[in-house]
């Protein structure tokens, strides 16, 4: 994968949250290059800054210093319109809490980003049904989120993230609220989609099941990158972890 171009480049990113009494340094200078088409996991203990980094890469929050480039464009330079376009077309988001829109059916949730992207309603519905079929919910398209299980909701969220054929899928603890087997299914699904559609998947997680499908794992601790492991090195440390557990 080393010869493909870097789709995301994070350079010297720091993030300081100013609270009333003191400042919290969530990120203390992160440099990272993510190649097109790879499946990257960001691992680290709770509070290490995974979600913060996720928000920076996704253009959901601004770094205190440093830059984030997507396709070599500094996203701090984008205006509201271009940022919306980026979120709509270029990136698909998946959250721990699913974040489906409660008042809409599964199908409407999936078609909304396509509507924003200017797709015709009928075409969006057709593609939405296909996507729901792909994630294994072809027959549940009429259901509202609260009528679906956690795993099914996350599947809808994945279908929604894929709606505009994004180049990048960002997933913040996609399995965090799911049980073991459902989590595994979701990971499988993400892996399959990333291979079939050659999307770059970046997922923040502390779920070790994620390791086996990752091309690369970035370990992060206290707002800094601890180490980056390639797939080959990985099996060894996974073995260690499995031993320890």
């Amino acid at each position: 994968m080393s010869n493909s171009h870097s789709i995301v480049r994070v350079s010297g990113v720091t993030k300081v949250f100013k609270l009333r009494k003191h400042d919290v340094e969530a990120l203390r200078g992160v440099d990272l290059e993510i190649h097109a088409g790879e499946y990257l996991s960001i691992m680290g203990p709770s509070g290490s800054g995974k979600s913060t980094l996720f928000n920076m890469i996704g253009g959901l929050d601004k770094p205190s210093s440093g830059k984030v480039f997507i396709d070599e464009v500094d996203i701090a330079q984008l205006d509201a319109y271009e940022l919306a376009w980026l979120r709509c077309r270029k990136i698909g988001y998946i959250f721990q809490t699913f974040n489906l829109i409660q008042v809409m059916t599964a199908l409407e949730n999936v078609t909304l980003p396509m509507i924003f992207a200017g797709m015709h309603n009928d075409a969006a519905v057709e593609k939405g049904l296909d996507l729901l079929e792909v994630v294994g919910l072809g027959d549940r398209f009429r259901h509202k989120p609260f009528e679906l299980s956690g795993g099914q909701q996350q599947r809808v969220a994945i279908a929604r993230a894929m709606a505009n054929d994004p180049a990048i899928i960002l997933a913040d603890e996609p399995t965090g609220n799911l049980d073991l087997t459902t989590g595994e299914e979701i990971i499988e699904l993400l892996k399959r989609l990333s291979e079939e559609k050659s999307v770059t998947v970046i997922s923040a997680t502390h779920d070790f099941k994620m390791l086996s499908v990752s091309d690369r794992v970035v370990w992060i601790r206290d707002g800094r990158i601890d180490k980056v492991e390639e797939r080959e090195q990985l099996s060894i440390s996974v073995g260690e972890i499995a031993h320890r557990a």
């Binding site: 928000n55 996704g58 959901l60 929050d61 205006d79 509201a80 319109y81 271009e82 919306a84 376009w85 979120r87 709509c88 077309r89 988001y93 959250f95 974040n99 489906l100 829109i101 409660q102 008042v103 809409m104 909304l112 980003p113 509507i115 924003f116 992207a117 200017g118 309603n121 929604r160």
Partner: protein
């Protein structure tokens, strides 16, 4: 005497100016950008009007009870407004017959009549009460809408992640308020008119209806309807702007 409609017109103008300034700022941003980079990108994030209508209708339907409560204060205020105005219209109808019996009935019913007057407006006291009730109503709507917005922070954050612009969020809330306003003001105007007509029927008997200027009544209803819609839109303006300006992360951090 500062008439009620003066007050409302001022409110209305204020609202229009506010929303105009908002769109202006927005537009200028887009224009400068598209000058820099060409219009290619700026055209690619859209929310067709029919779709936004559909979404707001759905939101109202799903939160029907909550919408009802938001609308209730509007119904009350608007029905009071149309009650006062239609009541005056009915009394005016009687007065203009120039028949001394009706005139006496009017005086007995509590209308202050100048000797020889052939028409009258509503009394100063009534007007002030109407203005006050409308004011209270706007405050109530702002309050209810702020709560509705807070309730939907996560939803707002999510649709922004999916590529919604500030203006989409603003439009959804304004559409919702507009529909609530139309429904609430419509019901209110109807209720108030019916009550006023029944009231004049009880006070003066069937003659009251014979001399009513139906055109004046219709005008009063339309007026009350318009005021109701304007108040509803005015009440949602601030909450909607707050919602539209939210950053996705802030919006989604909120526990619910």
């Amino acid at each position: 005497m500062f008439p009620a409609y003066c007050f409302c017109v001022i409110l209305f103008v204020f609202g229009i100016v506010l929303s105009f300034v908002y769109t202006l700022i927005h537009k200028r941003m887009i224009v400068t950008k598209s000058a820099n980079r060409g219009t290619e990108i700026s055209r690619q994030v859209v929310l067709p009007f029919m779709k936004s209508l559909e979404i707001s209708l759905k939101s109202i339907r799903v939160r029907f009870f909550r919408s009802m409560i938001t609308t209730m204060s509007l119904i009350l205020a608007v029905s009071f407004l149309s009650f006062v105005r239609v009541g005056t219209d009915a009394a005016n109808g009687l007065l203009q017959t120039q028949n001394p019996t009706y005139r006496q009935a009017l005086v007995r019913a509590g209308y202050d009549l100048e000797p020889g007057a052939t028409s009258m407006g509503s009394s100063a006291k009534e007007r002030w009460i109407v203005i006050l009730s409308l004011l209270v109503c706007v405050v109530g709507i702002v309050n209810a809408q702020l709560m509705a917005v807070t309730e939907r922070f996560r939803e707002i954050g999510t649709i922004k992640c999916l590529g919604a612009l500030d203006s989409f969020v603003l439009r959804l809330f304004v559409l919702e308020a507009g529909m609530q306003g139309l429904a609430g003001a419509g019901i209110g105007a109807l209720l108030g008119t019916v009550a006023a007509l029944l009231n004049s029927l009880i006070r003066f008997g069937l003659v009251a209806w014979r001399y009513v200027y139906w055109l004046a009544v219709a005008k009063s209803m339309v007026f009350a309807l318009a005021i109701g819609c304007i108040l509803s839109l005015l009440g949602v303006l601030y909450p909607a702007i707050v919602a539209a300006r939210m950053q996705p992360v802030e919006a989604m951090r909120v526990e619910q």
